[in-house]
């Protein structure tokens, strides 16, 4: 299941400010990095200068596994712009990384209209809602992740 920019259409790239720069620079190299607090050891997302748990201003950017579980999702039919409208319906999910932080992502199914997550049982934490074993693809720009067999690819 090779992933490419063509699969997704020309989606707009992210806006990037100073807080976000390190994250997206790593993403351009297909590395998923989050900050880890040097004092309390808690991983945080989204990036910011103070730890939301202990207010320490010391943190280290750390590459994480890219494995996690889908906490919730929606299948979007009404998009904010023509680029996303061209790929409707698409899935937006909140994914809990194994390291702790929650982040928003797209999940791409091979046949979007038959999205397998739409069954109630799929939301079980022990089910295929988990998206482990993601490996990076060769997609440029915003990172794309493709699944190992039986898993879903997600785009963060």
């Amino acid at each position: 299941m090779e992933n490419s920019r063509r699969d997704l259409g020309p989606l707009p790239g992210p806006d990037i400010n100073a807080d976000a720069r390190t994250y997206w620079a790593a993403a351009a190299e297909e590395r998923l990095v989050v900050q880890c607090c040097d004092e309390c050891g808690i991983y945080r997302f989204y990036p910011r200068p103070l730890c939301p748990d202990c207010a320490s201003d010391q943190a280290t950017w750390t590459e994480v596994s890219g494995q996690g579980r889908v906490h919730t999702f929606t299948i979007v039919h009404r998009a904010p712009n023509k680029e996303f409208q061209a790929i409707t319906p698409y899935v937006i999910a909140l994914i809990d990384l194994d390291e702790g932080p929650r982040m928003m992502a797209n999940i791409w199914a091979t046949t979007p209209l038959r999205w397998p997550l739409a069954t109630g049982s799929a939301l079980s934490s022990k089910s295929a809602m988990a998206a482990p074993g993601c490996r990076s693809s060769s997609a440029p720009g915003i990172n794309q992740y493709a699944p190992q067999q039986g898993h879903y690819r997600w785009r963060w």
Partner: protein, 387 residues
């Protein structure tokens, strides 16, 4: 402690729906004039002004702009921004202002011309402002997608049914068609909701509020003015707020929100509990929202919020009438005006005389406002009399 310290002396709303011949500021002015008339006050009685924000007319310093527009030179004036819940925040701030003598009479007015004051693209663009610009918007969400994700998780954890959501919309419309100022004139069915166009699954078009031109206003003052008013005032018994997050990605939970905390503060201040509430005006931007709020505010048991709406108990003649004007789903939603129409409606219901939609028991009202993605909560309890 604000119990019995403040009254709402008058309420008003603007023309509602599609009002292309009025600017957003004009809608606010119309609502303000109607609220002052309702109170039996004049514009020159106003020495405090609180408003919200406008996406269609994004003036810098909107509070000061509105004061200028109305010919006011207030000693207390600000624009607040906590989304559709801004009117609740404004009531809280106004109450503190009049009890501490910062102002004697505070006019609160919120709303804008969302339906006709912007192009469709601008409207959609406005809806992206709720998402985090760097870590949510790259994935293509609009506001309904955020609430859809809440809905999905809620259904998963608590078994809320798609039909339960639809009943919320059907009930709202049933009430709105009884309101003389409502733009909605025809009933809808559960099947209509389930068959409406999918927006962000599991939410369909009729699970989502529609965009209006609308403004609402109310007048906050101290009880010593009560005897001079043109109409019966409503008494502020209790009010509470809670802020837990802004972006859904950082919500501490998708099934437990800040309404528990804001509600318990309001109940404690008022010295009443959920069982004492005669009717409620809950926030209503998507069908899942009043279900969650009813549960968090103790108006329904956890897990049974959906049944509350499906059972008919929230009808005008039911055990606990909810959203008696139709709420955001079927009455009006114009940005920050979202929460104000519930406050206006509660004051009218407390007085009585609302004919086709008058609730039979109308001594104690609960109003709940929220902003963002269930990010910010304000619960208000108003009484027909002094507590």
């Amino acid at each position: 402690m604000l119990r019995n310290k403040v009254i709402i002396a008058g309420v008003g709303d603007s023309d509602i729906g599609k009002v292309p011949d009025m600017s957003g500021l004009a809608l606010n002015a119309q609502a303000a004039k109607r609220a002052l008339d309702d109170a039996g006050m004049r514009m020159k009685d106003v020495d405090g002004l609180l408003t919200a924000y406008s996406l269609t007319e994004p003036y810098f310093m909107l509070g000061t702009v509105l004061a200028e527009y109305l010919g006011l030179q207030p000693t207390y004036c600000a624009s607040l921004v906590v989304g559709g819940g801004t009117p609740g925040a404004a009531l809280h701030h106004a109450a503190m202002a009049v009890t501490t003598g910062q102002a004697k009479v505070v006019l609160v007015t919120c709303g804008e011309n969302r339906a006709t004051g912007q192009s469709r693209d601008e409207a959609v663009n406005a809806l992206t402002q709720v998402g985090h610009p760097y870590f949510e918007n790259p994935y293509g969400p609009l506001v309904p997608a955020f609430y859809a994700m809440v809905t999905q998780r809620y259904m998963h954890e608590f078994g809320t049914q798609r039909e339960d959501l639809a009943h919320v919309a059907v009930r709202a419309r049933h009430h709105a068609v009884r309101h003389p100022n409502s733009p909605m004139k025809s009933e809808i069915t559960v099947d209509d909701v389930l068959a409406s166009k999918p927006i962000a699954e599991p939410l369909n078009m009729l699970d989502c509020c529609f965009i209006s031109d609308a403004a609402g206003a109310f007048i906050v003052t101290t009880p010593d003015r009560a005897a001079d008013l043109a109409n019966r005032p409503a008494w502020l018994w209790g009010i509470g707020e809670c802020h837990t997050h802004e972006h859904i990605t950082l919500a501490p939970s998708l099934t437990e929100f800040g309404a528990v905390q804001s509600g318990s503060q309001a109940y404690e201040m008022a010295g009443v509990g959920p069982k004492d509430i005669d009717f409620a005006e809950l926030y209503h931007c998507f069908t899942i929202v009043p279900i969650i709020e009813a549960e968090e505010l103790g108006l329904a048991e956890r897990v049974s919020g959906g049944e509350l709406f499906a059972s008919g108990e929230t009808a005008i003649e039911g055990r606990l009438p909810i959203n008696t004007h139709g709420g955001l789903l079927s009455y009006a939603q114009a940005g920050a005006s979202g929460g104000i129409h519930g406050i206006v409606e509660a004051v009218r219901q407390l007085r009585g005389g609302e004919s086709a939609r008058q609730v039979p028991k109308h001594d104690i009202a609960l109003i709940h406002n929220e902003g963002g993605v269930l990010s910010w909560h304000c619960t208000m309890i108003l009484g027909r009399d002094k507590r």
